[in-house]
């Protein structure tokens, strides 16, 4: 790399926080997607001021910078497609403040979700989004991708909890957004502009998050259905019942079959399994909610409904859902995990459509996901080293996106656009919306140094 830039970076972060070693460059070429591109170097900043100096330098030298948390993203958003500098934020990992009386925490971007969870558990509190990667993903990454999880329907996603940010802009200026209050309508909501912006507008260097008290009781049930439509109706009618389950998950036939072929769980070979959890503070309360959910299951021709009586039984019911990813990850060498999302009433249409796409492109697609918020995870499984199969995957994913949009849905419920869905942005967003997004990008990052090539911001 350019010796002058290298020296300038070392001057900012110190020799021990700079790398252009091959092992780091390889490791920073990837995230959890199929994309790859090598950066020129990596740096480990420790302060907002260091980030600011790095961005000033990059802006001056027109070198791209890609902020990175744990690199667990599924759409290539942390892959440095234009080379440049990887800004690895995982050493900025201090929980700066836990204020139960103000119902908030202040953290650095490199704090791991699970570490905050552990720190808050002491007080009986939590930061609810609970992404599946929470053991390893960082809060900075959660903010940049607006991460969500299984409890999204009831508790929302990261966006719903970010009260304020400290952001370093591409020109190096440091800005504070939001407030430390539960509500604020003061000025434009700059905070939410940065949540889910995938590192394209600024680098988040501090996060103020709203936290929730933890519920202390829950009820769990599992229902099986022979027809996709029955399960779809059940999901819709649960909404009419006035109950918001804390979890409402769905497993499709291909997942069930794969689990049965590879574990000893012996699930019933049905078309759809729905798994519901209600939560609250007493068992009476959660059972009351669950009974309403179970009534809906029965009314919609559920073949079998099981309600867990103990925590162990609940864990048993959860096993199928929890093993899904691991079972599927071992079936074929390559996987792409999509996250198309539709209005809840369209779940059955989405499931049926996925089946047709799988047949049309001759590619295995196993579907599970969050029925409670319409967010499904069709997992496409193939051998990425076989060019024909790789093409089928691309075509199948394109059809999936078309289907989701046709059903009034969105390309992505929680994984983000990154590289993988960039080409499909215009499918969902009209030319005016695209123009506004691109204008915002140009305003904040005129030299396009921050995470370039993502989200179709360059037309």
């Amino acid at each position: 790399m350019d010796a002058k830039i290298k020296q300038a970076l070392i001057d900012i972060v110190g020799e021990q926080n700079f790398t252009d070693n091959l092992i780091d460059l390889v490791s920073y070429s990837y995230d959890a997607s199929e994309y790859k591109h090598r950066p020129i170097c990596g740096v480990w900043p420790h302060t907002a001021e260091q980030i600011s100096e790095i961005l000033k330098l990059a802006n001056r030298e027109k070198t791209s910078v890609v902020p990175r948390g744990a690199g667990t993203g599924l759409t290539g958003m942390a892959v440095p497609t234009k080379g440049g500098i990887i800004l690895d934020l995982n050493r900025m990992n201090k929980i700066q403040k836990i204020s139960i009386e103000d119902r908030l925490v202040v953290v650095e971007p490199g704090v791991v979700y699970a570490d905050l969870e552990k720190a808050l558990a002491v007080y009986g509190f939590l930061f609810p989004p609970d992404p599946a990667s929470g053991k390893v993903s960082t809060l900075g990454g959660n903010v940049a991708t607006n991460a969500g999880g299984v409890k999204g329907a009831k508790y929302g996603t990261t966006r719903d909890y970010v009260l304020g940010l400290q952001v370093v802009l591409p020109d190096g200026r440091i800005m504070r957004t939001g407030s430390k209050t539960m509500k604020s309508v003061s000025g434009y909501d700059l905070t939410k502009l940065f949540v889910g912006s995938e590192g394209t507008l600024g680098v988040v260097s501090e996060i103020t998050l709203k936290i929730n008290p933890k519920t202390t009781a829950s009820s769990t049930s599992l229902a099986t259905f022979n027809h996709v439509e029955d399960a779809g109706h059940a999901v819709s009618q649960i909404m009419y019942s006035g109950i918001l389950p804390s979890v409402l998950e769905i497993l499709g036939r291909e997942v069930i079959r794969a689990i049965n072929q590879n574990t000893d769980l012996a699930l019933p070979e049905v078309e759809v399994i729905l798994l519901a959890e209600t939560d609250g503070y007493t068992k009476t309360e959660t059972d009351f909610q669950m009974q309403k959910v179970i009534d809906v299951f029965h009314k919609n021709n559920a073949i079998e409904v099981k309600q867990a009586q103990t925590a162990e039984e609940a864990a048993d019911l959860w096993k199928a859902r929890k093993s899904a990813y691991a079972v599927l990850a071992r079936l074929k060498p390559t996987l792409v995990l999509e996250d198309v999302t539709v209005p809840m009433s369209k779940i059955a249409d989405l499931l049926n459509g996925i089946k047709e796409i799988s047949k049309k492109h001759n590619i295995m697609i196993a579907t599970y996901g969050h029925a409670g918020d319409g967010n499904l995870h069709p997992q496409l499984m193939y051998d990425g080293y076989d060019p024909i199969q790789a093409k089928s995957q691309e075509a199948a994913s394109a059809d999936l996106f078309q289907l989701a949009i046709r059903l009034g849905g969105t390309l992505t419920g929680e994984h983000g656009i990154g590289l993988q869905k960039a080409a499909f942005m215009t499918l969902e967003h009209d030319p005016v919306a695209m123009d506004v997004m691109r204008s915002i990008k140009k305003l904040l990052d005129p030299h396009n140094i921050l995470n370039p090539g993502k989200m179709a911001l360059e037309e």
Binding site: N21, L22, I23, D24, V26, S27, Y28, S29, Y30, D31, A32, S33, W44, A70, G71, T72, D88, N90, R91, N93, G110, V112, A114, S133, K135, V136, Y325, A326, A329, R330, P333, T334, L335, Y385
Partner: protein
């Protein structure tokens, strides 16, 4: 086309099975100590993937990550795709050594075992005041760390064996040399033969090992199969002691560190706890225990080659002991004791022992063992 390296022949599919989810980062002790993702299992698998794709070649630049793995297997146990990283790493290290790329500490260990009978290049083997190579029902196999570095622990174990009145003997043992397979070389056949011959000549039916790694080597390495073929039973000391009652207890808050070699690699979790809970009713687990236990940082040749990070890993383990207010940290591995004790800060208010050391101490305090 013939694959260039043996790791590709044996593990190509496994390497490709890594879906790059990055979940290994949560449990990798080297990442935990360094916060450098190139060191975790995903970082290693990505390097190997690029080697398989012909983008890079195995070379000295990769030593820093490929040789910096304690083979603790926490990644493997937590990998959704089931990638057996420790086995892949062991094979890659052999490929690296084959092309002349190796960490000098690892080369040094292999050279030492060509000339000496132990990994510390010591001449005189301690006899702990006991006769060796006798006819006996049991052989107690000490292991290098117990014989040359953690003699106190070995002394304690021997005194407890005396107390049980079993008929045992020590032998003129040499390094089991299993570790060579982990660090890029092959097991030392001469050492293996020496151990087998000396064990067999005692007529013993059971070998008790003081070291979890020796235990693992005896039961898993094909070179030691002649022992198993002769019907010789191999036990780790923790499996042997669980059936005895030493008649002592302590009120102290005691915790237990699962050695990777005994726990994740051999799934021996309960036996040490059976013994410990008998003597320490105030037993408490650390936040990460059993299959989730944090690694002490010593394994896979990392202590010798990457001492600073090895100690940092041990420190992370001891933070957990501190968090739960432990007064005594027990483990069943001399290597763990050695590394944890080296990492312990003076302000940390606990003692680190092997289980036999604690039992002996309590028995001496009670007077049931003489000083």
């Amino acid at each position: 086309m013939e694959a260039k390296y043996d790791f590709i022949k044996k593990y190509r599919e496994q390497v490709l099975q890594c879906s790059r989810c990055g979940f290994c980062q949560a449990v990798c002790p080297v990442f935990g100590a360094t916060l450098r993702p190139a060191y975790n299992a995903r970082g290693k698998m990505l390097v190997l993937k690029e080697v398989m794709d012909g983008k890079i070649d195995l070379n000295d630049e990769l030593i820093d990550t490929l040789f910096q793995c304690t083979t603790c297997a926490n990644c493997f146990k937590n990998c959704p795709s089931g990638v057996n990283v420790p086995e892949i790493i062991k094979q890659v290290r052999k490929d690296m050594v084959h092309i002349g790329s190796c960490h000098p500490a690892f080369t040094g260990m292999n050279d030492v075992l060509k000339k000496y009978t132990n990994i510390y290049a010591e001449d005189e083997a301690e006899d702990f005041g006991r006769k060796k190579n006798q006819t006996a029902e049991y052989v107690f196999f000490i292991g290098c760390v117990g014989a040359y570095r953690e003699e106190e622990s070995t002394q304690a174990t021997l005194e407890l064996l005396d107390f049980t009145k079993i008929d045992y003997t020590l032998i003129d043992e040499v390094c089991c040399s299993g570790v060579l397979e982990d660090i890029g070389f092959t097991i030392n056949a001469a050492h293996v033969q020496t151990n087998i011959d000396r064990i067999l000549s005692t007529g013993a039916g059971t070998v008790i090992t003081g070291c979890p790694y020796c235990y693992r080597t005896f039961i898993n390495r094909p070179q030691y199969k002649p022992l198993l073929d002769k019907g010789i039973k191999i036990l780790h000391i923790s499996q042997f002691l669980k059936d005895f009652d030493f008649g002592v207890t302590t009120d102290k808050r005691v915790t237990y560190h699962d050695p990777c070699d005994l726990g994740r690699h051999c799934e021996i979790y309960d036996e040490p706890r059976q013994t410990i809970t008998k003597i320490a009713p105030n037993f408490v687990e650390m936040p990460h225990s059993r299959v989730d236990a944090l690694c002490c940082g010593a394994g896979g040749g990392v202590r010798g080659a990457f001492a600073k990070n090895s100690i940092a890993m041990a420190r992370r383990r001891l933070v957990e002991a501190e968090e739960i207010g432990a007064e005594i940290v027990l483990t069943e591995c001399n290597s763990c004791v050695h590394n944890l004790a080296n990492a312990k800060l003076r302000k940390q208010p606990f003692q680190i022992y092997t289980t036999t050391q604690l039992i002996r101490k309590l028995m001496k305090e009670k007077g049931s063992l003489k000083n």
